[in-house]
């Protein structure tokens, strides 16, 4: 895997971000964070620590409920943009559309001829290995296939950033490992900025170029580690295991404070 430069431009700069929900809870208070472009950043943390909230603010979905700010490519984010596309754990696909129509959904709001759009959809289905399932409907697909369709749909409109909210949590281990390989190869081919929230420490170290652990209430950055070197990608190597232990200890300590 080629390393993105340490001087890679920033995709997001989060400045003193505070998010208030209606019932008076504030999962995030005065959080500062930077996310570099062209990297896979994995965000870990115990349940309810504000990971998903952070992801939603990066997508601009909580505009009006947040103060402070999120700068995307140097500009304050004022609304959701098709440059930053979010993928959820479930309910990504429209059940009344087949795979091809689901993937092409975003294209119908864009310029471009039918033929071009069809070609774009074909290309991306090929990329995620679903060309054989183009005319199937979501209920006919496995969970892993559904997430691949969601990823394909997010990529087809050529966004700058993918936000992934526990995209593989509902999958079993072998399927999840295959999805990791797919994500890796997608990143190598597209070099998109990806921000992924996950519960799974192993997944974060395996996939992330950088791993961030959030914790505490309100959430702050507990660990911020560069994982972008070959040695750490060995699942049973000492570097991997020691980071995994460090992160797990940190998350459980955080849980004990409650």
């Amino acid at each position: 895997m080629l390393a993105p430069s340490r001087l890679a431009p920033l995709a997001f700069r989060v400045e003193r971000l505070t998010v208030d929900y209606e019932r008076g809870t504030s999962p995030l208070q005065d959080l500062d964070l930077e996310i570099r472009a062209g990297e896979i950043t994995c965000i870990l943390g115990e349940s309810g620590c504000g990971k998903t909230t952070l992801l939603k603010t990066l997508g601009g979905f909580l505009i009006g409920r947040d103060t402070g700010g999120v700068l995307f490519q140097g500009r304050y984010l004022a609304a959701p943009t098709s440059d930053v596309v979010m993928i959820f754990q479930e309910n990504n696909l429209f059940p009344w559309l087949n795979v091809r129509a689901n993937v092409g959904f975003g294209l119908r709001f864009q310029l471009g001829s039918r033929k071009q759009q069809r070609q774009a959809v074909d290309r991306i289905l090929d990329l995620v290995g679903l060309d054989h399932a183009a005319s199937k409907y979501p209920h006919q697909l496995s969970g892993g296939m559904r997430q691949r369709v969601a990823i394909a749909r997010a990529l087809v409109t050529e966004p700058q950033v993918l936000l992934l909210d526990e995209p593989f949590s509902a999958l079993d281990i072998s399927l999840r490992r295959r999805m990791h390989a797919l994500m890796q190869s997608l990143w190598e081919q597209t070099r998109k900025t990806m921000v992924m929230v996950t519960h799974n420490v192993e997944e974060a170290i395996q996939l992330g170029h950088r791993v961030i652990v959030l914790g505490g209430s309100p959430a702050r950055v507990l660990i911020d580690k560069n994982c972008n070197f070959t040695a750490i990608k060995d699942r049973y190597g000492p570097e991997f295991l020691s980071l995994q232990r460090e992160i797990e200890d940190m998350i459980y300590e955080g849980a004990d404070e409650e």
Partner: protein, 248 residues
């Protein structure tokens, strides 16, 4: 199938065996069907006689027109209410107030306003299903996963496009299922309207039978009503299965 066959068989046998009043009030199928077949499926006296199919068609048109208008109107109202909080505040008490008024209760007013016409029947069907479907649309809209809307907006859909391409298809199956289960209410409302006001349709056959002391005609009317209602329900079920099969 078997149960229907046994029911008809029992009825036939008891009609043949039992003599006198019972058989004349409840003539067995062989008897009242023969009467209708002999008159070439025409119902009525002399030159006024009209084919029974015309009655079936008249009733069907009324039910379908009323249900279609109510379906479309309910979806549009639901859209309006879900998009505008002001509309919800001002209209939803009215909806809850008008919903429990039985469609049959509208018949006298409708006849005064629209006269004895198809419009009256359509209006009554409309009143019978519109309010319940509007409430159903609102409930279905609340059930749409929040992810759908975010995904669509994220991929560049404007609020209107989000409504047309996401919310609408997401709620259609649920609202249609309720339309189907409320079909019986609409059906009854039209039959009553035809019995008390309108001069044609399936309900009118029963009334004509009553006025002529013709029990065979009454039973034949009931049979046609039963069979057609059953058929319509099957058609609606087929539409639900073939065209609106998804679940959210």
């Amino acid at each position: 199938m078997l149960s229907v066959g046994m029911f008809v068989g029992l009825w036939e046998v008891s009609g043949q065996l039992g003599a006198g009043t019972l058989a004349s009030v409840l003539p067995p199928p062989s008897k009242f069907l023969r009467g209708v077949i002999e008159s070439d499926f025409k119902i009525g006296l002399g030159s006024q006689a009209a084919s029974v199919w015309e009655s079936v068609l008249a009733t069907f048109l009324r039910v379908f027109a009323g249900m279609t208008v109510a379906f479309v109107a309910a979806i549009l109202t639901g859209a309006l209410l879900s998009l505008s909080r002001v509309a919800t505040w001002s209209l939803s008490p009215l909806l809850h107030l008008l919903a429990p008024i039985a469609p049959i209760a509208w018949i006298p007013t409708a006849i005064v306003v629209f006269g004895i016409s198809n419009l009256t029947a359509i209006f009554i069907v409309f009143m019978g299903v519109y309010f319940i479907l509007t409430l159903a649309t609102l409930a279905e809209i609340r059930r749409v996963p929040p992810e759908f809307s975010i995904v669509a907006g994220n991929l560049g859909a404007t609020p209107l496009q989000r409504w047309i391409f996401v919310v609408l298809p997401a709620v259609l199956p649920g609202v249609f299922a309720l339309l189907r289960s409320n079909f019986l209410a609409a059906w009854m409302a039209v039959l009553v309207a035809e019995m008390v006001g309108l001069r044609d349709g399936l309900g009118a056959i029963i009334m004509m039978g009553r006025n002529l002391f013709n029990n065979e005609l009454i039973l034949f009317g009931m049979l046609v009503i039963g069979v057609s209602g059953f058929a319509v329900d099957k058609v609606l079920g087929l539409i639900a299965k073939r065209m609106l099969w998804w679940r959210i």
